[in-house]
């Protein structure tokens, strides 16, 4: 699963900017909940392009959002923190976030709540998981314990991908200082592995296939092992928006839940929807791993667990109850 998260500094800047906006008296929420029953409500949704947006794409393509009275416009962004920034600006009403980003921005004072899953929760079977911890050919690493003294590529040092390696390493008896994370985008990881710049990487589909083709070996599926069944990503909205647009939020939640069930029943169509939005060929689309258990219910204990791990490794200071970071009717 392509999980991207933010740096603490980014979240702090966001919190400062949120205060600035509040001081300016510019509370942004352009969604219109007071439209007539027949008229579709326009909502803008920010997303990070990857294969698990399939339910969103399918919901737009096959009219599931329209059925629930919503006209959804998608905006592709580079990472979840940009999505949150766009929601704070008022140009987007809903957006994709990862659980570490959700916890991080809430801990920095931006009240953000999960409204629905993206296409379900983290699967419990490795065959359904696209995120792997791999070791470079010739690195001699065969288990997590072998990471001692090695360099590990990760997409963000505060992402779930990094967090899961930290937890697994601790379980294997490694201290946090005995290995080193190197931050880099997924596309650069296969080359970094084969050139010996890093000895291991937490890498996601489709880039993991390149790494394996070049001789990298899979050591673990950290997210399955630690976070099977967990809510690791979600579609979120700001509390201020939820407060003023309860019916739109309810419609969005219902639409995504219906779309998740629909995508599970039509997985080939779900993968085919990636062709347009991810700009890939139909053949490549069908080879994508949809990293989901198709369960649309947000898993609150798992959010608390991820927060506890973040506290243990110093990413956030304290656990905020998951119930305050999830829309009341979604939990």
């Amino acid at each position: 699963m392509m999980l991207r998260a933010t740096t603490t500094a980014g979240a702090a800047a966001l919190a400062a900017a949120t205060l600035l906006l509040a001081a300016c008296g510019s509370s942004g929420s352009s969604g219109n909940a007071s439209g007539t029953a027949k008229k579709l409500v326009n909502v803008d949704v920010g997303y990070v392009a990857y294969s698990d947006d399939d339910a969103l794409f399918l919901a737009i393509q096959d009219g599931i959002f329209a059925k629930h009275g919503l006209n959804v416009t998608l905006t592709s962004q580079a990472n979840p923190i940009d999505v949150v920034s766009s929601m704070v600006s008022g140009t987007e009403q809903f957006g994709f976030v990862t659980t570490p980003v959700l916890a991080n921005v809430n801990s920095k004072g931006t009240p953000l709540k999960c409204v629905s899953t993206v296409d379900g929760n983290q699967p419990t079977q490795t065959s359904k998981d696209g995120t792997m911890l791999v070791a470079a050919k010739g690195s001699g690493i065969s288990s997590v314990a072998g990471l001692r003294g090695k360099k590990i590529a990760t997409v963000q040092t505060t992402s779930l991908n990094s967090l899961s390696v930290e937890v697994l390493a601790k379980q294997a008896g490694l201290s946090p200082g005995s290995y080193q994370f190197v931050q880099m985008p997924f596309p650069q990881m296969p080359a970094a592995l084969s050139q010996g710049n890093v000895q291991a990487a937490v890498i996601t589909s489709p880039f993991v296939n390149t790494a394996i083709a070049e001789g990298a070996t899979v050591i673990d599926h950290p997210n399955v092992e630690l976070f099977g069944g967990a809510t690791v990503t979600c579609m979120a909205a700001l509390s201020s928006y939820i407060g003023k647009n309860a019916s739109v939020v309810a419609d969005f939640h219902a639409a995504v839940n219906e779309a998740v069930a629909y995508a599970e029943a039509h997985q080939s169509a779900a993968k085919a929807s990636l062709v347009k939005y991810l700009d890939i060929t139909p053949a490549v689309a069908q080879k994508q791993i949809l990293t989901t258990d198709w369960n649309p219910n947000l898993n609150l204990p798992s959010i608390n667990q991820i927060e506890s791990d973040m506290v243990a490794f110093g990413v956030i200071k304290k656990v905020i109850p998951a119930s305050s970071m999830v829309w009341s009717q979604a939990g």
Binding site: A49, A191, V284
Partner: protein
């Protein structure tokens, strides 16, 4: 002025003949440029064919150029170019006009110049990427966010250029204009602006390239719209099969940069043909 002709000695390069070749006519210059371009493209293809660059890590020149050729006939590319150029143009225009006005006012007063220059130098060094999150929070991933960032990036270096341009005006000319009771507005258009024009033109030529980079980075990081940066981001996220597409858009960005810088350079030569700096350039070329 012409260099005395030397007897033609075909196939043998006499000392200095390379320099003469380099000074040759427009056709020769174009030929050399095309040769260097072909060599660069050939090197790229060679590295791909020999396996130094793996296809799933870096696409070959032929696949990237073929994808670019295919894109040239698609509306996606031209929509992307239009989207990127819109933010570029609005940002450059607003940032440019603000810089010329502020730079002129600061340049005409030594006191104002000395007071403001530390602040300007400070803002000039702030990387636009650092303020991008704030722009994103204020405006969202919109056209406005991108042109505000472009205007910000363009304003600071250009305002310094304008200040230096205005301060380099011959004081006698300004005093003469004042003595002849030329009003401040007319003085600005007739004396100040033409005298500072070469500085402004150079600043604008550099700013045009900076504006394009900032615009594409804002799209790539902030997202939104349908410009070249967003197409790059989409291709990057799509995995190795979309790499030719990704590099095709990188080529488009590069070509756009060359075209914009070239057209600003051409406009500079045409509009400022009367100025001594341009006359000197033409004289040195004529040697």
């Amino acid at each position: 002025m012409r260099v005395p002709a030397t007897p033609a000695r075909p196939r043998v390069l006499a000392p200095g003949s390379l320099a003469r070749l380099a000074r040759g006519g427009a056709a020769v210059k174009l030929g050399w440029r095309l040769a260097v371009l072909a060599a660069a493209l050939g090197l790229w293809q060679g590295l791909s064919v020999s396996g130094v660059l793996r296809a799933d890590e870096f696409p070959s020149m032929t696949s990237s150029v073929a994808t670019l050729w295919h894109l040239l006939s698609s509306s996606v590319l031209w929509t992307a170019v239009g989207g990127t150029l819109a933010a570029w143009a609005i940002g450059l225009l607003t940032g440019g006009v603000a810089a010329v006005v502020a730079g002129t006012l600061l340049g005409l007063s030594s006191f104002a110049y000395r007071s403001a220059i530390p602040v300007i130098e400070f803002f000039k060094t702030i990387p636009v990427v650092a303020i991008l999150p704030i722009a994103l929070v204020l405006y969202g991933p919109t056209l406005r966010e991108r042109y505000v960032l472009v205007a910000f990036a363009v304003f600071w270096p250009l305002v310094i250029q304008v200040i230096y341009g205005v301060r380099s005006i011959d004081p006698t000319v300004l005093d003469t204009a004042r003595a002849l009771k030329v009003g401040p507005v007319r003085r600005f258009f007739v004396v100040v602006l033409p005298s500072a024009a070469p500085f402004i033109a150079t600043g604008l030529r550099v700013a045009a390239a900076v504006a394009l980079i900032v615009d594409i980075v804002a799209e790539l990081i902030g997202g939104g719209g349908n410009g070249i940066g967003v197409q790059l981001l989409t291709a990057q996220n799509s995995g190795p099969t979309a790499y030719p597409q990704m590099y095709a858009y990188i080529l488009v960005a590069g070509l756009l940069g060359v075209l914009l810088a070239g057209s600003f350079g051409l406009a500079e030569r045409q509009l400022l043909h009367w100025h001594e700096t341009q006359r000197n350039i033409r004289l040195s070329h004529a040697v």
